[in-house]
Symmetry: C2
Subunit: 558 residues, 2 copies
């Protein structure tokens, strides 16, 4: 099966509205409309046509971009209507031929990105106060309904033609794995026996029953559909705290240099060591002091260091996940001045109520969450000259393991490494389990987090950091080289699959959320099914879809 | 790979201490000791030797039996020490050659059963007040440490030889999937970076570091090990509310007739329709009124209807799961008198504090939970003459879907079917998510459960049951045959894998627990890995283990 990384150009996640091929973004005061109108012949890869508003990764990259721009460039927008730009169909879901021809790894990575985008829709509704709602103006199947489920209010046309459905199990022998099953029973809390019936019924459910069962929120005659949705959108927008007359910032094109073994941005660089299977990522702290206030943040725009950092890291993570699957370990380093990071963190906290500052924080939050759910081992190296402070300390806390050099290096004038907690570590960047990385780390001793608050702003050397439980190992310069090298060598020698399952299990102790259920449970089941001959074998349903041939299932239950 | 169901005798889960080959059960007043002493040459299947106290399904069947008998036959026991009967090894975990030669389905089913048994150990500690502790008297690896993790207090010998370890990832390219990863971070709340190191370190951790990291509770010099554990066990036993001088009941041999297409017990029968892929299970209510009090329950012993029911259903579920993997749908029916079930439920409630009554309820609870986590579709058929009341109504509430015939059948004098709630439906049998089946069903409307309490004891006909949300569909006799037949035909035509993933995702909305995390997340990842060539391919680690050959991993991360 096509491993899209070997024979084709790398996937680029950077785009902008002028280049969209599949979405139309329009504005009506506080209400934006995001209309899906997929170009059949504009698939990201050759070999399939995007019929019936079905989507591939390229379609979702544009959706992701649109959601980001709505947040940053349109403070005046308080509600977003997701709908179809086509006459007779809302969306048929992910393109089946695309899935059928993709490698296992590509499918899994595609689903992860689409999941993150849908989670970001929900986060925009809840935290950016830009509420998404959905106008289902035609048949809405599979991933189409999963997109609807990620909005907060679903209005469906009441005609003979329009229904919502999750036909994955009966038609394709896979799951509604982009959050569908989880959102049915956990977000919309559809009764489990009804959900069971619904998920095994190709034709789906329409009309009054769809409302009664909680599958949609309203059904409205076709003639009144648009006005009913607009009305609801205006009501939701009116409740938003976003500034109606605020001025957005422009997400200017992200500058990046892509060399064969190096990716370079303004603040983030990544050197790829193919022999060792490592990506060595270095993140630079701010070059100077932050602006004085929220107006200064607006003036800095896309150049505002925390925002630039979020965009660069975000793009790098997506690039590495999609285009560098063989690079199994990400090594994180930082450089810079802790006092400047702390000053930025203070600015973000002092102006937390400003819509733009909020967006910047949320973007960093989402980006750190991407690290948590990446199927890569993450090691942080804390050395002299590093800058693991506040927001940047989250990188070390997100790592599976951290090494901090205790003391100095011979012939290196740099002072011993220290780390520094700031207020940002105590609530700004919750993980998908809803806890801060510190709270997740100290599940056994919750009191420790309170104690650490008292040490905010202090420079902790290796001994202090180890005693505080903030780093894993603290070799001195005699042991450092060997210890780090051996740990990395061991890591890259293990089975990538076993590491993925292990990391997904160890990273999220404590409470569960919709997101942990999606990434930890639903995705794991889907990945399993994506390996099973009943789905992907030569007689599997995903392979035979559209051929008229019937699948020949191995009937043994596992 | 060997599908153990086709060419070998069915696995029998019934055993008794006199027939144990792998465990020794001894008693010292309120403290019992369960010593693992596996016979190398007594594997359940040919093809492997159970070296180093490694285990297979046969070893675990005996453990399960011992845990059950400790609860019912030994009210005087308040603490149970799990240890090894061998000199130089505690336990090396699940037997690798056994895993390597097993089919995917057998591996998955084996892990499910071992998981349930470990969960039952924890339930015995928490709810039967028979606290398990572990004396680690030699190397304790993989599944051996997972067994220790299922106890409430782990004491390890402090010698040069004894360590705890989870070497699955580095050695075998699979996960510590019998709860190991989950219990590390969620039960013992080991810091995630330490857990990460521990799970990638073949040799494990011993001595003081094991205590400091929370991997064990105490380390004690070898010379004092036994006495230290005994002392701790006596202290724990002293806190138990079990009757020191109570009289246990005997779990007499379970009578069962196994015909090619039928399994018959006293109250439970199962007809296997191989052509249609169905197991038609009928459960009979009590034949007469219950005893008057707890003493009567003791006198009835293993013949007490709820206990007999639990034992029979339990055995049938294990039999069907292990020996009938091709039978993908279980159809549940009941017969009997609702008033008698209600009387039994009242007895169980009125004497809930009695140790034996408590054990009976807990056994039913565990058995219903087995249904919830079975990878089979479950349909309940509620027809005239049925007895879905109270404890037996849980079967319909555990079903993925229920059909209730509205009205009577022509030429059938039986009155229309009714269902009846009893107090047992409101707390006696929580699911693995910690909620009752009613609360799980009505996540969207929690108030409904309170309303239903007011209808306890009423006979609800089809219309009333549907209005109350307790059944899925209520066809009348004209539609019944077709509707049920078509639903069953459709179900058995779907991909078994997709159904398994779907059911595991829809059955447990709401809160998460250690158990839902184990069955929903950890098991799903393990199942995925159990399919991956890096583990089970010809060059996979599980296949090559012990050959001296090195695995050749596909390095792409998925």
């Amino acid at each position: 099966m096509a491993d899209t990384t070997s024979d084709l150009a790398p996937v680029d996640f950077r785009t902008e509205p002028a280049r969209y091929r599949h979405w139309k973004l329009t504005f009506d005061g506080p209400v934006a409309t995001l209309a899906m109108d997929v170009r059949e012949d504009a698939g990201l890869r050759p070999g399939y046509e995007l019929k019936l508003n079905s989507y591939d990764l390229g379609v979702d990259i544009e959706l992701y971009d649109a959601v980001q721009r709505l947040r940053f460039e349109h403070p005046e927008v308080g509600a977003v209507i997701v709908t179809s730009g086509k006459e007779r169909i809302f969306c048929a879901g992910a393109n089946i031929r695309m899935l059928g021809q993709s490698s296992h790894g590509f499918k899994v990575n595609f689903c992860k990105f689409t999941n993150e985008t849908r989670n970001a829709l929900e986060e925009a509704s809840a935290e950016s106060r830009q509420t998404y709602l959905c106008m289902v103006n035609g048949p809405c199947a599979g991933g189409g309904y999963e997109l609807a489920l990620a909005t907060e209010w679903i209005v469906m046309a009441d005609d003979g033609n329009t229904a919502v459905s999750l036909p994955e199990v009966p038609l394709l022998a896979v799951l509604p794995g982009t959050g569908g099953l989880t959102r049915l029973v956990d977000k919309r809390r559809v009764r489990r026996d009804r959900a069971d019936f619904f998920c095994t019924t190709e034709e789906g459910v329409k009309g009054r029953r769809a409302v009664e069962w909680g599958l949609v929120d309203e059904v409205v005659p076709r003639s009144r559909l648009e006005e009913a949705v607009k009305q609801r959108a205006r009501e939701l927008a009116a409740k938003s705290d976003r500034p109606r007359h605020g001025k957005g910032i422009v997400l200017t094109p992200l500058e990046r240099t892509l060399d064969p073994d190096r990716v370079t941005y303004a603040y983030v660089t990544c050197a790829i060591d193919r022999r060792r299977g490592l990506a060595e990522i270095t993140v630079a702290g701010p070059p100077s002091a932050p602006p004085a206030d929220a107006a200064g943040v607006g003036a800095a725009g896309a150049g505002f260091w925390p925002l630039a950092l979020a965009r660069e890291l975000d793009d790098l993570i997506l690039h590495l996940r999609t285009n560098e699957p063989q690079i199994g370990v990400w090594v994180l380093r930082t450089t810079g001045r802790a006092d400047l990071v702390e000053a930025y963190d203070r600015l973000l906290l002092d102006h937390a109520g400003d819509w733009l500052v909020r967006e910047v924080r949320l973007y960093l939050k989402r980006t750190f969450k991407r690290i948590d759910v990446s199927s890569r081992s993450v090691f942080a190296l804390i050395e002299p000259g590093s800058c693991f402070a506040g927001t940047l300390l989250e990188l070390a806390l997100a790592a599976d393991r951290s090494f901090m050099l205790d003391g100095t290096r011979p012939d290196d004038p740099k002072r011993p490494a220290t780390i520094r907690l700031t207020a940002a570590n105590f609530g700004a960047y919750p993980m998908i389990n809803g806890l801060t990385r510190l709270a997740s780390r100290f599940l056994a001793e919750p009191g420790r987090v309170d104690d650490l608050k008292g040490r905010t702003g202090q420079d902790l050397d290796a001994a202090a950091a180890a005693a505080a439980g903030l780093v894993t190992f603290t070799p001195d310069e005699i042991d450092w080289e060997d210890e780090v090298r051996l740990a990395l060598e061991a890591r890259t020698a293990f089975s990538p699959d076993a590491l993925t399952g292990m990391e997904a299990s160890l990273r999220f102790g404590g409470p569960e959320t919709l997101e942990t259920k999606i990434f930890g449970r639903l995705s794991a089941w889907q990945n399993w099914i994506f390996q099973r001959p009943n789905a992907v074998g030569p007689k599997g349903a995903l392979q035979l879809y559209g051929t008229g041939e019937r699948s020949d299932f191995d009937r043994r239950r596992a």
